[in-house]
Amino acid sequence: MIRLEQLTKNFGDTTVLDRLDFSVDSGEIFAVVGPSGAGKSTLAQCATLLEPPTSGSVIVNGDNLSHLNAAQLRVARRKIGTIFQHDGLFSRRTAAQNVALPLEYLGVTPLESKRRVAELLDRVGLSGKARSYPHELSGGQRQRVGIARALALRPSVLISDEATSGLDPEATASVVSLIKELRDDLDLAIIFITHEMDTVRSIADSVARLDRGRIVESGSLVKLLHDPDSELGRSLQPRRAHAAATASAITWFVSYRSALVPADWVSQLGAALGSSVSLLGASIEVLHESTVGHATISVETSEDERVRLALDSLGLDARREDPVRLSVTS
């Protein structure tokens, strides 16, 4: 478990982190999103005390790291594994030697270290690459080595700063599924920092949006996605182009408000309204056993209130689309 209390960081006169408060439980993946310059990397550095916070506390498994001296901090940091953007691998060390670094710093015997490194590389699916140098590995493989290294000292907290940024979709997916697997197997509390909303949807249990050093919105992923008034929830969803409605029809933007929306809601809506319903575009998926997403439909009726009520009773939030908007004809 990791908890931040009133964590503040100033660089000179600028406040980069402003009294952050949140906690991540064991087994939870907490995503932090935000625009570039929001303070995400600073948050990662302060949470590991690589940068000393100006004020506030970082508490890991009940131990407050904020008032430790350098030597005590080195010991306390073993509880936190860090995954860096651009993998942070040492170019002159093989994959195995990179994974062995934290063990070497700790003074683990070479024999013990060798055994542990083999186990870690196996864990991330790279047993065959132990003797490869970083330049001989793909981006996804390098990031896996970085993950193995972060786990070397059996941490209970993992902090990942843009670990998947710059990876191709396939490598991103493999890193995401590895991190989720590790969370399940090792009961890690994970802070996953990213600016990629697709990755957040596939990995996070809860999300916070950081903007100019403040957490402006946070909550469980599914709750945010089901809340039509949540700006964060909306920004997490892909907004795709949809087909144009016929001239006589009215276009509605419909989003899932609950997990109880029937799968055949389109035909149920058509039956309830007694008019045809066209599906113009949609982005719907199942996350944590709940269906989330949105659809753009058009209905051949101008009785807006009836449409709204019918959709509402199906568990869907409905907003009339501005008739004058750019769209793609299919």
Binding site: L50, R77, I80, T82, F84, F90, R92, H135
Partner: protein, 235 residues
């Protein structure tokens, strides 16, 4: 033009090789001192900078300035300027011991800068990775800075060694012995072209060998280049 007192051709090796040995001893001793002092000093200067492991900006400025002064003095002037110091250390101001002192000072200043520059070209992220992985500041310097900079430091060491061969010739000209001494006394003062040519050939070959050895070591210590090399060679 021929002079009657020219060294006969068969006698040139007997003149050149002991001198070459003197040069090698001089440069060897100097380079050992330069590496032993220059590596820690370069690492220290690098880590006293604001982004280093123990930032002391004021001390960094002072040290950096001292190194710059050492670097910017022409060797001949440095050598002359520190004669009292040299005599104090070695008890003499001629011969190999006397040459080693000014050469070491110039070499250390040179190499400190090289080490510092090499460390600056290592991604600073790696120091953060090491710290996050539980490294002490000294472990950070050893593994995340020096170890990663090894090829670049060896490249610099090569240049430095060649510069020291050149300095040894300058030192030789004021009586330190070695190839430079032979070149000046026979080639320059007695117009002995045979000896002059022989010293030039020996120096060119020596410098070329050092360069080759340095390049090979750089390749050997760079995993990327090592692989390229292997691929480039026919199987």
């Amino acid at each position: 033009m021929r002079h009657s007192n020219n060294v006969p051709l068969p006698d040139i090796p007997a003149l050149i090789f002991p001198a070459l040995l003197d040069t090698l001893i001089m440069v060897g001793i100097v380079m050992a001192i330069v590496v032993i002092v220059g590596v820690p000093l370069g690492a220290l200067v690098h880590n006293l900078a604001p982004q280093g492991q123990f930032p002391r900006p004021r001390l960094h400025t002072v040290l950096s300035w001292i190194v710059s002064v050492g670097r910017s003095l022409p060797f001949l002037i440095l050598m002359a300027a520190i004669v009292p110091f040299t005599r104090f250390i070695t008890g003499t101001n001629i011969g190999i011991p006397a040459a080693v002192v000014p050469m070491s000072i110039a070499g250390i200043a040179f190499f400190t800068r090289i080490v510092e520059n090499s460390l600056r070209s290592v991604p600073p992220d790696l120091a953060r990775v090491a710290t996050a992985s539980g490294a002490s500041p000294l472990q950070v310097i050893r593994t995340a800075q020096l170890a990663e900079a090894v090829p670049s430091i060896i490249g610099g060491l090569t240049i430095n060694t060649i510069a020291m061969i050149e300095y040894s010739a300058i030192a030789g000209s004021i009586g330190a012995g070695g190839i430079g001494y032979v070149a000046v006394t026979y080639g320059y003062q007695r117009f002995d072209n045979g000896v002059m040519l022989a010293t030039i050939i020996v120096l060119v070959v020596l410098v070329a060998c050092v360069q080759k050895l340095g390049d090979a070591l750089v390749r050997l210590t760079t995993p990327y280049a090592r692989r390229q090399h292997r691929v480039a060679q026919p199987a």
